[in-house]
Amino acid sequence: MKLFREPLLHFAVAGAGLFAVYAWLDRGSEAEPSADLEVRIGEGELRWVGETWARQWRREPSREELRGLVLDLLREELLAREARTLGLDKDDTVVRRRLAQKMAFLIEDTARIAQPTESELRAFYDAHRERFVRPGQRSFEHIFFDSRKRSDAAADARQVLVKLSTSDAPAPGADEGDRLLIESDIRNADRYAVAGQFGQAFADAVFALTPGEWSGPVESAFGLHLVRVYEATAGEARPFEDAKADVVERWSDEQRRTVQERYFTELFRKYDIVADERIEALVGPLPGDVALGDVQPANEGLAR
């Protein structure tokens, strides 16, 4: 499947695309009128298409294959030049967006083909342990007040709450509240599980409660509850082996983003963006203003 999804063509094309876009981006800085009919191709391009090929096929391209790649690249470039000569790229949202989109895909692809090594993964895991945790859990008991059976379930609940907080007994009397088919004692449930049984809002409320004391009333999909969380466990780290599949996924994600960020950083550096004050206030510092390598993966400024 992989082979088919990312055939040679794709990379030849990607190469050409990069070349074309690069050339387009670049023409401002190297504006030599005489270069209009000149197509430059050099060691850099050759190395790039060769490397791309090698990553995909796990071997060096043959001379013949390399020749094919270069020819494709050239044909593509010539067509692109022609198209520009015809003005097909001017003031055309479609072309502009497609170019940008293509560029974005290209950057993502570059990140995707690189396979992480074990040590890279471990390093990533160590650096982001907080992302590879089992979710926190709560154990709690609750007393249910059925709004359909009581004229003022909230008042009744508050009354019982007062009783519970003033009496010494840690547990409510057996006759407080109403029956609910869900157990009154819920153990070791994560937020998902609580939401699945009581509804999302109830789960969120329970996870925000301070353990040890009776609180409420908290509303669920069924009515009102007094709740006492008696055990709260924070999320715990998953061992590396256990989390490995997720680590790979996140690593690739991160990789994609980093490549993109770096790329944009360079782009922002490359161009002189003139913005009036209003815009500047709006977007804040541009990614190009920070040193390369310091870029946070978080979305900042115009980078997105």
Partner: protein, 643 residues
């Protein structure tokens, strides 16, 4: 008791007490009465764990999901594989094969990826150009066609090869070949990777797909075990010479697996409604007369039956149960699976769960064992890799039926020769399996399935309790902890009533709570089937708990709960029905000499069917006759009484 040797020991360890309980009660997870009573008296905060060795919550899942590894799913364009399927079921957002993002309203607790065992994994391999495929000249040819832009031709060539039995023998993905081995390994690896005990259970499984002449005798096989055992075998198939279309051969395979590995498997049949009278035979099966051995073997391996799924619901049929006003629910009764033979009325009796449960009572008398003593579950049978069975989030049965403005319009089966035509709108957004297990692990869930402590739902995640015993009293329904009472005074769904104490009739403690994000409940019914002394079978449906203060009319029928559905805008309100139903019911017509079974059926208030959501979202008009509302429901496993 059939499976003492396999499960007696384990269950005994699981149960609070193995003392002096009649042998049959062990299969049902009965809780020791004294401890349960103690548990009730004690305030929970002092010792929250006491008395909690019964299941306190049902786990919801799907035991029947296909991915791109299934030949037909792949042919229909499914690109999501087992990993995507598990990822989606545990609550992640994924992109469907038609490019639409999709996410469940909340995660499922478990999933069985059950891909067809014949030709498992063929499509992904062909299009990936795996060496095994390319080694065959025809495989090579197809692959080259695809690579050179002749994919459309390749597609038709593959179809024709299948239709005309000219598919290259060497390309058949059969057990024993390296290609098949790697597909099975990939299936197992995916389950191992996503299995997360306590949080999300990914079962290893497959579907054995006996379909001779288009008559559906399919079974899903589910492993209790992990990769170490499951990878010692390869799935049983249908194509000869490795496989067979006879269920008896599948059971032999299952026995061989358990003998070889010391592991455990069970099988779940589905779609008797498309078997044209073959799913639950009473005279002969696969050309052989039914005998005790058949009955015992079937009862041993087939502990559950998939009662509701996308291709119709098979609990009851209006023709068989004319007095059951809720029997006509998502019925598919036009023919067999491919529509090649139209349905005849006399086939129905051997296709539906209720009539099979009844015939089982009779067969038990004749053969000594009831072959149809099964519990009930629902599942999706989706071929998209997506167990998305919510009415407002229904991603169809196959990829062409993923959300689209056309999906209500086309035919699902259209056999011009027999005139059998089933429209796509008749496909149900159903269902899920609910399992009363102690914890969310392969072992615990599987054991609960084995003891049939399960129920089927047509999609909503309602909580349903069903206990049978001799001593339930009205006030038990008022108790704060009905489950403790239920387990201490009776047996849960899937169990057997103990011998009748003199002069007593069976009592049932029933309770249901609506889905927290779903619709209110209309009623809780008990369906009873029994065999009289003359050998005649009977059935009756009792309303035992219902919402509001409705009173049954002079005909004994409860008035309708009403309907708040606005079909055009696909809306409804919970202004009718009740969130919770609970009652104790005593069989008013009990005869201790007659074998019987009882199961619960819980019915929701009407809500918009997926077709209504489609109509509203796509602005399309449904075809005349399209069902636009649905009264979702749950069916519990029965409790049996044997004199």
């Amino acid at each position: 008791m059939i499976r003492t040797s396999r499960h007696g020991a384990r269950l005994a360890a699981l149960l609070a007490s193995a003392v002096a309980l009649p042998a049959f009660a062990q299969d049902t997870g009965t809780l020791d009465q004294k401890r349960a009573e103690e548990a009730q008296r004690r305030p929970p905060a002092y010792s929250p764990y006491v008395g909690r060795d019964f299941p306190t919550r049902p786990f919801f899942g799907d035991t029947h999901l296909h991915t791109s590894f299934s030949m037909d799913a792949g042919a229909f364009g499914a690109r999501l594989g087992p990993r995507d399927a598990y990822r989606f079921a545990r609550g992640d957002e994924v992109t469907a094969s038609t490019g639409q993002p999709v996410k469940l309203s909340r995660p499922l607790d478990f999933l069985v990826v059950a891909d067809h065992s014949d030709n498992m994994g063929f499509f992904p391999d062909l299009f990936a150009g795996k060496p095994e495929v390319l080694a065959d000249p025809t495989g090579r040819q197809w692959y080259d066609m695809i690579q050179s832009g002749k994919g459309a031709d390749a597609a038709i060539a593959i179809i024709v090869a299948f239709s005309h039995a000219t598919f290259p023998k060497d390309l058949m993905y059969s057990p024993g070949t390296p290609a098949y081995h790697s597909a099975w390994k990939a299936t197992i690896d995916a389950a191992e990777e996503f299995n997360d005990p306590g949080r999300f259970t990914a079962f290893i499984g497959y579907e054995w797909t006996s379909n001779t002449n288009g008559n559906n005798l399919h079974r899903n096989v589910i492993f209790r075990d992990n990769a170490d055992k499951a990878s010692q075998v390869e799935p049983f198939t249908v194509y000869p010479p490795y496989g067979s279309d006879n269920p008896v051969e599948l059971w032999k395979w299952m026995q061989a697996y358990e003998t070889k590995t010391g592991g455990n498997v069970l099988a779940i049949a589905h779609n008797g409604n498309l078997s044209n009278g073959l799913m639950f035979p009473v005279v002969e099966a696969s050309g052989k007369e039914l005998d005790r051995e058949y009955a015992e073997t079937r009862a041993k391996w087939e502990r559950l039956y998939e009662t509701t799924q996308t291709k119709g619901t098979g609990e009851a049929h209006p023709f068989l149960s004319p007095n059951d006003e809720f029997a006509a629910f998502e019925i598919w009764d036009k023919g067999n699976l491919d529509g090649s033979v139209a349905k005849k009325k006399e086939m129905l009796e051997f296709e539906y769960a209720r009539s099979a449960l009844k015939n089982g009572l009779k067969l038990e008398k004749e053969l000594g064992t009831n072959p149809y003593k099964f519990g009930l579950i629902g599942s999706s049978d989706a071929h998209t890799g997506l167990a998305a069975m919510e009415e407002d989030n229904f991603f169809g049965k196959t990829v062409p039926q993923e959300p689209s403005p056309r999906r209500m319009m086309e035919a699902f089966v259209d056999n011009t020769k027999t005139g059998v035509k089933i429209m796509d709108w008749e496909v149900s957004a159903s269902g899920y399996a609910a399992v009363w297990a102690r914890e969310n692990t392969r072992e615990s869930l599987w054991d609960a399935m084995e003891r049939k402590e399960t129920y089927a739902t047509t999609g909503p995640r309602m909580i349903v309790r069903f206990f049978g015993g001799w001593d339930f009293e009205a006030r038990d329904a008022e108790d704060r902890l009905p489950a403790s009472i239920g387990y201490s005074k009776g047996v849960p769904m899937g169990g057997d009533l103990r011998a009748a104490p003199g002069g007593k009739a069976p009592t049932f403690l029933v309770a249901a709570l609506r889905d927290p994000i779903g619709a209110n409940l209309d009623r809780y019914q008990i369906v009873k089937g029994w065999l009289d002394k003359d050998g005649n079978l009977h059935e009756k449906v009792y309303d035992v708990a219902w919402s509001g203060d409705r009173k049954p009319g002079s005909d004994g029928k409860l008035p309708s709960v009403g309907n708040t559905v606005d079909e055009t805008n696909a809306t409804w309100t919970n202004t009718i029905g009740d969130p919770e139903l609970i009652a104790v019911w005593k069989d008013p017509e009990f005869d201790p000499t007659q074998p019987a079974f009882y199961y619960g059926r819980v019915i929701e208030i009407p809500t918009p069917r997926w077709t209504a959501y489609d109509g509203q979202r796509f602005g399309v008009k449904p075809l005349p006759g399209t069902a636009m509302t649905v009264a979702e429901r749950a069916y519990t496993s029965p409790i049996w009484y044997t004199p």
